[in-house]
Amino acid sequence: MVLLENDAFLTELTRLFQKCRTIGSVVITLKKYDGRTKPVPRKGHPETYEPADNKCLVRASDGKTRISTVVSSKEVIKFQMAYSNLLRAHMDGLKKKDKKSKSKKTKAT
């Protein structure tokens, strides 16, 4: 799992989408993150880590390559705008509204 900065993550995500246009799937996972870098200690051992409340983890994969990034509250606005644009730009292989296309087809034939 490659941990990247927000911008590098978005670039790599674009690359993943482009790679998977003909075959394969892109999986994106979003999860709240408390900033831990060490494993949770066993029962009975003292918990020395102060969980942070303002981060989330975004992971992406195409089945082979895995990338991830941490977004905190300071970067969320910028990241979210770029991320939304990216999703909208790349998830364009879906069907458009059926009713309109059907009526257009009947008019054509």
Binding site: F17, C20, R21, T22, I23, G24, S25, V26, V27, I28, T29, L30, K31, K32, Y33, D34, D53, N54, K55, C56, V58, V71, S72, S73, V76, Q80, Y83, S84, L87, R88, H90, M91, D92, G93, L94, K95, K96, K97
Partner: protein, 116 residues
Amino acid sequence: MPPGFCFKQLYFATPLKYLIRYPLFTVYDIMPYYQTWEEFARAAEKLYLTDPMKVRVVLKYRHCDGNLCLKVTDDAVCLQYKTDQAQDVKKIEKLHGKLMRLMVSKESHSGAMETD
């Protein structure tokens, strides 16, 4: 994942010892897909607010098949939504943004939701 385990394979074929150790996977086989986006979005936000740390949002996009599958789960409850309509992309991306902002905001008061 136990070796040789595949979701598409009938899970009867999986050795019983793996089913016992990973009962989680049998739950996924029977979790239904939501029919309407509104119900799914409402259920997803509700699930997130019950336990923010446990919930993850998974989005799977297949350009070759032209479909999009969204899953929100806390490893006990699993909510799924599948679509092949372009009009759902905007809704999905909005939900993603909303959940991301919720995750990143300091939850000083639980149950607080941003209104769209």
